[in-house]
């Protein structure tokens, strides 16, 4: 069973099915976020349905590019023999 699940995520022949399932999940999450009951919202963004999806995507992109910028342009990343 484990092997079949793992193969579904790894094998190239499932790529199309995998992508469809992924997009379906994304859409369902956003729809669900519009439907859930929000009893009290402390902050402005908590009242916005779909905010978390936007923030998650934004955070991910920001982290990737800010880190890579720090690594490449600010010299945090060095050759492996830097300390040798």
């Amino acid at each position: 069973m484990i092997k079949r699940v793992v193969d579904f995520f790894g094998d190239e022949r499932h790529a199309k099915k995998r992508r469809r399932l992924f997009y379906l999940v994304l859409v369902l999450i956003v729809i669900a976020d519009f439907l859930v009951f929000r009893e009290h919202a402390e902050y402005l963004w908590e009242r916005l349905p779909g905010w978390s999806a936007l923030y998650g995507f934004g955070s991910c992109v920001l982290l990737i590019f800010v880190s890579k910028f720090l690594g490449h342009q600010c010299g945090l990343m060095r050759r492996e023999d830097y300390y040798d």
């Binding site: 995520f9 998650g56 955070s59 990737i64 890579k68 945090l76």
Partner: protein, 586 residues
Amino acid sequence: MTDFVHPGLLFILGALPIPILKGSVRKAYVLLIPALAILAVLTMHPGGYGAAQFIGQQIMIAKVDKLSVLFATVFSIMALIGTVYALHLTHAAQHVAAFVYVGSALGVVFAGDYLTLFLFWEGMTFASAYLVFAQRSEQALRAGFRYLMVHITGSVALLGGIILHGFATGSVLFGPIEDGLGFATCLILAGFLLNAAVPPLNAWLTDAYPEATVTGAVFMSAFTTKTAVYVLARAFPGTDLLVWLGTVMALYGVVYAVLENDCRRLLAYHIVSQVGYMVVGIGIGTEMAVNGAVSHAFAHILYKALLFMGAGAVIHVTGRRKLTELGGLYKTMPVTLALYMVGALAISAFPFFSGFVTKSMVVAAAGQDHRALVVLALTMASSGTFLHTGLKLPYYMFFGTDQGLQAREPPRNMLVAMGMAAVLCIAIGVFPQTLYALLPHPVDFDPYTGVHITESLGVLMFTALGFVIFLRALDPENTISIDTDWFYRMGARRFMWLAEKPLARYEKAVSDVSETAALPFLHGMARAGLRIDLRGVDAFVNAVARAILRGGGALRRLQSGVVTHYALAMIAGVIAAIAVFAVAWR
């Protein structure tokens, strides 16, 4: 039965017979000790044990309350899991070191006074350093020495703080510090923050953990930082500084994880990030925040160990640790991958996994405390956590480019240990009330509300979308990253350069001067001295000796051997004495 068996001493004393035992007897024995420790923790009652007087101070070996029992519970469970994972080891030394390490961590958790705490604190440092040295490579030895030196520096600060604090307050009992941040308190705090790997004091962790043995790193990931979280929760709840340090920490680890190529170093940066959540919780200091911090420590120990075990299994089987050299293992190691992913989903706080019910408590507590910026930063760090441990690492290790590695599943004991941790990660996520009942304060928090679930899934799955779109930007690169260890690694090198170049040159110049000028002068002086000695002093001494010899000859002539001469001399002497006496009397 006694009320209290110290589980720490059970481990430390229990480590002694390990080298004598062989084969399956040793295996059974090393499993028995953690099992007994779990039993000891479950049956202990709150109270103080082992109170005594030491150098005029009241000390208490063990203080049992809900907070210490919580940490002791997870520590002893983790010791059992880590021992199962290391069961295939043929050498006893690593078992002994791991037991002393766990025992010392438990000693800190129960310590009722600073002196006991410090003793066990040092025990942890030395025992854990062995787990790095045991790897035996040149790189590991160097990292191990750096690890020791940094920790000893921290311990000296801690000891200094303890002594000053003891003088100021007249007591070394360990408890909440309420007299503000004075010099003594700052020293103690610095010692604690170093072990919690709070930037800029974090580099020892990401430097040493990836160099430790496969089994040793599993222990290390669990104990040192979480012991520090415990002492912070005990001594410094509600210290505002910690909120900001923790927030920076949570993002710091995530940023560095993007750049990392070594699989266990990437996980080590996520320890820094996750401990950030705990430090924030302690800094906020409300009941809910402290509950969140310590419950997150509980969950973190289990899922982080699971992640280290998964990465360790890959290293054990393939002998490779860089993401650029790994890939395509899902075909040969599907069970390892599945178990690793349980840990990854738990650290990422997916619903029904342990991180979801603990991490959210810290974030919710920050929200209730009106700290919007902290909430946003921690949510961003959550996104980064899933990005790396849940997506990047498994993708490049198990999927990605197939490197054609000859791999297989790791030994059965490793899989069993991972299975135990995985079951607990899910059990905590599904039945959070069991964990909540152990927390130091009453819990009024329900993680499973609709909005919390959709929000979490939104953040996580759209992070996955970002990952899919920008996958190429995340390709690991064959580099290392400069962290704050640069200061002491390069600083030490500069110091050595200073010693080898300018100082050595100065030393040579000084010795040159002494050779060309001072030495001939001294030689001349010595020769002159010799001449004076021979011609002056010796001649005088010889002359005196000759004179005495001659005087002795003259005296010998007086000794005639005739009794009447001697009697005559005595009478003359008596008369002379009487004459002198009479004159003096007068």
